[in-house]
């Protein structure tokens, strides 16, 4: 086994192969591009989080006394847009997916490395447009850009916000395209579809949604921009248009978008649960099919966001029924994770704590989605904090916890360093407690009737105590999120050097050094084993290496 030795005697890795800004900004190495994305994702997570903190501060008191009403509209709009388009949608695929998919399938890189770099540049350009939007006064349409408010009645930066979302959407499409072609065409010999890690299956399903759904919201946004610029009436009722048409086109993407956000997280959870239960996944085929099932059925339910907007009752009934169906594959996954853990040898390292959090909180979020699917209930709780709590349970309690779990699980591989496990567990605990304290009261608030997007609730001062609890929780959550940022950076300099396989986990990524060399494998691996072959991996035994 020959590895290039640098002058210092270090092994050559993707990190030390070349230094300098140009070697990063012009890289086509999927691993470096993943880290470039990590910078952007982290930045926007804090921008979005900052807006959230301002929202929670305002809601501490019933009166609207921290900011103006218009400013409050901008806060929740930009919190939503930044979090959805610049954090949640790209986070797992662009960081962990980019880094791991080629390695997990035994390839040297993605199918189109230069398009991968282009994806990152598009994300950054979209991000800069968003920053410009924020700095030049913000936008207050709500993250959903509903017309005719966005096309006719507002003087804020709707067009630049729309452009930011359009450009970042193009980035998302190219990433999805890259993943689909890579998974179809670049698998190593012996890596059949039935041996793929579920992390790869999850990104395959996600990519299908990305390529089919994103273009529709892209054209919807283009039409909004054209309408604004040329005084057209496509979505404007006073000019003969229908605002609901915008909502149909918008939600045709934005509902599947929530599955773009959650499916990669589900892939992460499958990897973590198997490793920390020392067991194969229960029902591999069902898990893979459930991922595809969620992707497909997820395209059939979009108008459940429009039940009270004025669609026909008959359409609402159809969409309500279809929405119940989409819960089935998700439930299958929760049952299978649980069955995987049954009679497993459970370890409670940080990644597993996040996985536990995901399974519990995603279940609550998902079940409350079924409440909302019921027309009778939806009429009462739509546009209240019940909905806000529902989607935060899935996106924050689910997806963000899965993202953090994945970052901890693969951090040794990515950086070659171990994070401090004690701090990791503390942070996970703070995140879990902080999250529930923030968002559980919001279910109750919504049920009690507190509307969302309201800056002032002085007509109902009885809402205050739950709002105070929620804000307190948000503070704890913020600390929980800050800790990993600090100790990950700390670990890059002071962390223990990571072995190839610190978790004794199954999968090709654990058979190469930490961090990997630039082309991943010395020689193309030939796969002869099934996924999650934990019954073959003995405890405390050196796992045979691929190189």
């Amino acid at each position: 086994m020959a590895t290039a030795a640098l002058e210092t005697g270090e092994r050559e890795t993707y990190l030390n192969r070349e230094y300098g800004v140009k070697s990063w900004l012009l890289t086509v190495d999927h691993k470096r591009i993943a880290l470039l994305y990590l910078m952007g994702i982290t930045f926007f997570f804090f921008v979005g989080g900052f807006f959230a903190l301002l929202i929670r501060l305002e809601l501490l008191t019933p009166a609207g006394d921290l900011v103006q009403a218009d400013t409050y509209n901008k806060l929740f709009t930009m919190h939503g847009q930044v979090m959805v388009f610049f954090f949640l949608i790209p986070a797992v695929p662009a960081v962990l997916g980019n880094f791991l998919i080629p390695i997990m399938i035994g390839a040297k890189d993605l199918a189109f490395p230069r398009i991968n770099l282009l994806s990152w540049y598009l994300y950054i350009i979209g991000g800069l447009l968003m920053v410009y939007t924020i700095l030049s006064g913000g936008v207050d349409t709500g993250w959903t850009f509903y017309t005719p408010l966005s096309t006719e009645f507002l003087n804020t930066n709707v067009v630049s916000a729309a452009l930011a979302v359009f450009v970042s959407g193009f980035s998302s499409i190219l990433t999805g395209l890259n993943f689909i072609v890579t998974i179809h065409r670049m698998r190593a010999p012996g890596m059949t579809w039935n041996r793929l890690p579920l992390f790869v299956w999850a990104h395959y399903a996600t990519s299908i949604i990305q390529v089919l759904g994103t273009p529709v919201v892209a054209i919807a946004i283009v039409l909004v921009a054209l309408e604004r610029l040329f005084h057209l009436g496509i979505f404007n009722p006073s000019l003969g248009g229908d605002p609901l048409l915008f909502q149909h086109l918008f939600w045709f993407y934005s509902h599947p978008a929530v599955y773009i956000m959650i499916l990669p997280g589900m892939g992460i959870v499958s990897e973590i649960v198997c490793c920390f239960s020392r067991k194969r996944i229960f029902g591999y085929k069902a898990m893979a099919l459930a991922l595809l099932g969620i992707a497909v059925v997820g395209f059939l339910v979009w108008a459940h966001h429009m039940f009270v907007a004025g669609i026909s009752l008959y359409a609402a009934l159809i969409f309500s029924l279809l929405t119940y169906f989409v819960g089935v594959p998700s439930a299958i996954k929760v049952f299978n994770w649980t069955s995987t853990m049954y009679k497993g040898s459970i370890r409670y390292q940080t990644p597993m704590l996040y996985a536990f959090g995901f399974i519990g909180l995603f279940t609550i979020g998902g079940l409350t989605g079924l409440f909302l699917a019921c027309l009778g209930i939806d009429v009462h709780v739509t546009d209240t904090y019940f909905v806000v709590a529902h989607f935060h349970y899935i996106m924050v309690g689910g997806m963000v916890m899965a993202y953090l779990g994945g970052m901890h699980f693969w951090w040794p591989k990515i950086s070659g360093k171990m994070y401090p496990e004690g701090w990791g567990r503390l942070a996970a605990l703070l995140v879990f407690v902080g999250f529930n304290l923030t968002f559980f009261p919001q279910f109750i608030l919504g049920y009690m009737g507190m509307p969302r997007r309201y800056w002032d609730y002085s007509h109902s001062p009885e809402f205050q105590i739950l709002n105070v609890l929620s804000t307190a929780g948000a503070t704890v959550l913020a600390v929980g999120y800050l800790l990993p940022m600090i100790y990950f950076v700390w670990s890059m300099r002071y962390g223990k050097a990571a072995p190839d396989n610190p978790w004794n986990a199954a999968g090709l990524e654990w058979m190469i050094p930490s961090p990997p060399s630039t082309f991943n494998f010395e020689e193309e691996p030939v796969v002869t084993w099934e996924a999650y072959n934990y019954d073959e991996i003995k405890e405390n035994e050196e796992v045979p290496v691929a190189h």
């Binding site: 609901l244 149909h248 059939l300 026909s312 008959y314």
Partner: protein
């Protein structure tokens, strides 16, 4: 590469078929077929599209089943967009 190479004759034939289709669709538009006018127009357009896909884009001769699956998937989801949207618009005035 063992790619199928179509003959010039085949391409010209398909081109002529597309021309004929164009002329037919203009002629059919000039006749009152009632509710069938749009149906005929779309049928002719779809036939032309299928000819372009199969012969000009070589899908008929590809060894890749995946290409056909990709195309069918896209058409399916496009039709879902149209069908479920029209499920709303078509039933809004029902009592």
């Amino acid at each position: 590469m063992s790619e199928h190479i179509s003959s010039v004759k085949l391409y010209i034939t398909i081109w002529i078929a597309l021309m004929v289709g164009t002329i037919l669709t203009v002629m059919a538009a000039r006749i009152d077929l009632g509710v069938f006018n749009p149906i005929v127009a779309l049928a002719i357009a779809s036939t032309k599209a299928v000819l372009v896909v199969l012969f000009f884009m070589h899908v008929k001769y590809t060894h890749e089943k995946l290409t056909k699956l990709v195309i069918v998937t896209a058409i399916f989801f496009f039709l879902i967009l149209l069908a479920l949207t029209m499920a709303d618009y078509g039933t809004r005035l029902w009592t």
